[in-house]
């Protein structure tokens, strides 16, 4: 138990370090002292302090918010479905939100506020569509929930296809949305963060409050029910929190959902199955992952700036590959 706590503390320390790194690295390197003074005694005339406060800090906050929400959502989804591939990106949540935002903007000229709601609606619909599809396809011999993931992938493909079709219909507005749809952490989206942050805070709070019953449920619904957990209520509440939380994250900077797939797998070996430790650990690690990815995406491909979402897709795809190999293929080998 002690080393699990230690993981949490070191993650928190690491988060602060990455945060500072993120604020200081960039086109100009800004020393820690300047960053501190930007916070403590802001000088309007100092260019570097302006960069920190109005460019890098919003960007870092977005990364933090998005990473924390996607990672904890992924952890909860993996526990609830007892499927190692579950995450907002693989269950249609990200794609649904993306398709709805694009649809809203292209067809109804949605403003920023309305886009947020469209993202939420899309997240919920995308997820429900994946669930319905999985039930519809309902493969009879599917002990490990493969059809759920397959349905999620197909629903995502369909929704992203729709979004792309809409984008192509109007080249002028395409440019605005194009970088958003591939997942872009950018300070221009700061307004969105300020308008939806409370949604994320509420859902994260709700998930943390449900950590104990969620842990029990990851062992199995029957066991949880016999231990006195109101399984249906906890499922509904936590799914609602996941959809609202990750939907709001997508609304800010587009689908960056693979953090939600990868981070829980990174964290689990250190903190175990207990969500009371696991959720905060996931949130911290997710935030670190997004901050790091943001930095790499900005710096590694000079002179180009890569969208963070693309980089995370690459890493997430690799992780997806390893997870399939480890959980679905190695298992098949052992079964022989």
């Amino acid at each position: 138990m002690r080393h699990r706590g230690a993981f949490l503390i070191s993650a928190a320390v690491l988060l602060v370090v990455t945060l500072f790194l993120n604020l200081s690295l960039g086109a100009i390197v800004i020393p820690t002292s300047t960053i501190l003074s930007a916070f403590l005694s802001f000088d309007r005339q100092d260019y570097a302090q302006n960069v920190v406060l109005y460019q890098r800090l919003p960007r870092a906050l977005i990364a933090l918010y998005v990473g924390a929400l996607f990672a904890s959502s992924g952890s909860v989804l993996q526990g609830l479905t007892r499927n190692p591939l579950a995450s907002p990106a693989t269950l249609g949540i990200s794609a649904g939100a993306a398709a709805f935002v694009v649809g809203g903007v292209m067809l109804f000229d949605f403003g920023l506020e309305a886009q947020g709601f469209a993202a939420l609606a899309g997240a919920i619909l995308g997820f429900l569509a994946s669930l319905t599809m999985a039930r519809f396809a309902g493969l009879s011999r599917d002990p490990r929930g493969l059809s759920l993931i397959l349905s999620g992938a197909l629903v995502s493909m369909l929704l992203i296809g729709l979004a792309n079709a809409l984008l192509l219909s109007d080249p002028s507005r395409r440019a605005d949305l194009l970088s958003w749809i591939s997942g872009n952490i950018n300070h221009v989206y700061a307004d969105r963060l300020f308008s939806v942050w409370w949604l994320g805070a509420v859902s994260l709070g709700l998930l943390f409050a449900l950590a104990r019953p969620l842990t029990l449920m990851s062992l199995g619904r029957e066991q949880a029910a016999s231990a006195g957990v109101n399984v249906d209520l906890v499922t509904r509440l936590s799914l609602a929190a996941v959809m609202v939380g990750s939907g709001s994250a997508v609304a800010i900077c587009g689908p960056i959902g693979f953090v939600g797939l990868v981070v829980p797998h990174l964290v689990r070996p250190f903190v175990g199955q207990d969500q009371r430790l696991g959720l905060p650990a996931c949130a911290l690690t997710g935030a670190i992952a997004c901050l790091l990815a943001d930095m790499v995406a900005r710096e590694a491909f000079q002179p180009f700036v890569l969208n963070t979402g693309v980089l995370l897709d690459l890493l997430g795809g690799l992780a997806f590959l390893l997870i399939v190999k480890r959980f679905y293929l190695a298992g098949g080998e052992a079964a022989r």
Binding site: F136, L146, A153, L162, L306, G317, F320, K325, L329
Partner: protein, 355 residues
């Protein structure tokens, strides 16, 4: 000597002296599909902004001159588009049908398995790092990329006796990684090629031309030979590797050859028009719905269905009364996903019905 006879299962067949037989139902379906392709092409010829149609085409074939705008629309835009569309659809569907027997997975598709993405990454790598390379080696790069992904997939899945769905998930994972790489690579392409690439990455017939069709022709011939040579073996592959070997198919020798053939077909289509995801799984299933078949007949019917689908989809897209320039690959995905789901559903139902 050809005569009509009954096969062992009581169905009418045409039988040659050496025992070669074709099921009449399959033959009729193939003829019908071929006619459908011609009819669709005839319809597609008259779709577009320029008022010119089949009648004009026939007139120009008899030597009567057309006004330059009509001639351009007909001969330089629409006809090559139809021909290249048919060839690409034909090749993708053939590749899908072959892969399904090879992987013994009814959901196999060169797009879902990531082979198309592999071809695209290879082409992009070529364009980024060897921009001076002759255009003729693009198909070769596509082939190598597709083969690379195929081998990677085989290595990843290994000898594990995993269900078809797990292989599909693995393919999707590979596809995700590769499309991220594509997105990174596109940053490095010169701006003038970048826009054309984006259209091609989504799968499109905008750039179809007679020279594209001519470049495709030898691969079409290879495809026909492949059907003739491998078609029969694939029926045996459907019985499982052990059974196939037991009844006389040298699987260890023939499988790599057939696999290269399947990748060749899909990568040729990719270099011609970009990825047509889902077509490879869609066409064989629809063909089987029209006329159940095995072996060569299945390949022929599937590929004809693929060609017909692309001509039809492209015609529909051009007929859409809007400014939407939807790439054909996207359109096939939009139609393909729901149909794919229905296929999964039907499979489940069939399995539930089976005792």
């Amino acid at each position: 000597m050809i005569r009509r006879a009954r096969a062992l299962d009581g169905r009418s067949v045409l039988r040659l002296g050496n025992g070669f037989q074709i099921r009449l139902h399959n033959l009729a379906a193939a003829l019908a599909l071929g006619l459908a392709c011609l009819a669709l092409a005839a319809l597609a010829v008259s779709i577009g902004a320029q008022e010119v149609g089949l009648a004009d085409l026939l007139r120009s074939l008899t030597g009567e001159p057309l006004d330059p705008a009509s001639a351009y629309a007909l001969w330089t835009v629409r006809l090559p588009r139809i021909v290249v569309g048919f060839l690409a659809g034909w090749a993708v569907a053939l590749s899908g049908a072959v892969l399904q027997s090879l992987a013994r997975n009814p959901l196999a598709d060169p797009g879902l398995f990531g082979l198309n993405q592999g071809s695209m990454v290879a082409i992009m790598l070529l364009l980024v790092f060897l921009p001076a390379a002759p255009r003729e080696i693009v198909p070769l790069a596509a082939l190598l990329g597709g083969l690379g992904v195929g081998l990677l997939l085989i290595w990843l899945v290994g000898g594990a006796r995993s269900g078809g769905l797990a292989i599909l998930l693995m393919g999707l994972a590979v596809e995700t990684v590769l499309s991220a790489i594509t997105s990174i690579l596109i940053l490095y392409t010169p701006p003038e090629t970048s826009y054309g690439l984006s259209a091609w990455l989504a799968g499109s017939l905008f750039q179809a031309s007679w020279s594209g069709a001519a470049a495709f022709a030898p691969w079409f011939a290879v495809g026909v030979i492949g059907i003739a040579v491998f078609g029969r073996s694939l029926a045996v592959y459907d019985l499982g590797t052990d059974m196939a070997r037991a009844i006389g198919e040298p699987v260890t020798r023939s499988r790599p050859v057939i696999f290269v053939f399947a990748v060749l077909m899909s990568s040729t289509a990719v270099s011609a028009v970009g990825p047509l995801t889902f077509l490879g799984v869609l066409a064989p299933h629809l063909a089987a719905f029209v006329s159940p078949a095995t072996g060569r007949a299945r390949l022929v019917l599937s590929s004809l269905m693929g060609g017909a689908l692309v001509i039809a989809a492209d015609g529909l897209l051009r007929g859409l009364p809007s400014t939407m320039a939807l790439p054909i690959g996207l359109a096939i995905t939009l139609v393909g996903v729901p149909l794919f789901m229905i296929t999964l559903r039907l499979r489940t139902l069939r399995r539930l019905q089976a005792p």
